[in-house]
Amino acid sequence: MKKIASYPDSLTEKHFHYCPGCTHGTVHRLIAEIMDELDIREETIGVAPVGCAVLAYEYFDCDMHEASHGRAPAVATGIKRVHPDKVVFTYQGDGDLASIGTAEIVHAANRGENITTVFINNAIYGMTGGQMAPTTLEGQKTTTSPYGRNLKEAGNPIKMTEMLSALDGPSYIARVSVHTPKHIRKAKKALKKAFQRQLDGRGFTLIEVLSTCPTNWGITPKDALNWLEEYMMPVYPLGDLKDIEEVE
């Protein structure tokens, strides 16, 4: 018998602490596979966020920094400036990247910092028990929007990826999803392209991954996949948002 799919080398043996059905694990696997395939595990320094993925440094089998909440792009900048020849990525949630860390991601992107950001958009704060995120949908109930998100009070679900695409620095920005095997394969492709761009020295890349948080959404893992497709995807359409093919 031949192994056709198995646990990637670039993940440690640690069990994920994520809730059942949480797609953080899926994205972890994809990144690990890409490290395997590009053979960069020993060249990579990852930056974990504060958020559900706070323990990502226990899962990725590469050098890791645990950043303070929202500051992963700044931490990654510090690392990359010291090690311009290494691969540096940040892994961030939507509270981390789109709320407290807004300034850091905007400026890392604008500087065209040669790092890759994986942006997990699950429309909620997972780690802290289900508060409203800037990406929370209109009407969505969370512990801090108990009557449903009210646009007049809390503003619109923020489109970070669209916004960052308006800057000159980024070389590749895309939005993907991981709610079906097919989307997962596409997500991997986009992620791999982003890492490859970094290896080619082409500047800032960011992949937004629409993700689920069954626990804090209060539904089953299966229903969460459907909810993502039905409610999140119309607000956050998938696709490449910015792709500077060639350097002039």
């Binding site: 018998m1 192994k3 694990g25 095997p181 089953t220 893992p221």
Partner: protein, 82 residues
């Protein structure tokens, strides 16, 4: 060497990792994955399984592997005869 071989498994679950989310169950096109009713792992989850009798039926599509957020699944395929 002296390993006792029962069935040649094509779909192997790391039951301790499994959180019983059932996402693999749904995506299997040949419907061979189910949740074990008779056991619980040390975290209190009933793991997914493919019963021995169904192992053969796996068509190696890797859908379950792709879908499993906890990377519990290892897939095997018969060696090509050529």
């Amino acid at each position: 060497m002296a390993e006792k071989k029962t069935v040649e498994k094509k779909v192997v679950f790391d039951e301790e990792r499994c959180k019983g989310c059932e996402l693999c169950v749904d995506v299997c096109p040949v419907d061979i994955i189910r949740m074990a009713e008779d056991r619980m792992n040390s975290h209190g989850y009933q793991p997914a399984e493919v019963p021995d009798e169904d192992q053969e039926k796996c068509i190696s599509c890797t859908q379950c592997y792709q879908m499993c957020p906890d990377v519990c699944i290892t897939l095997y395929k018969e060696n090509k005869k050529d």
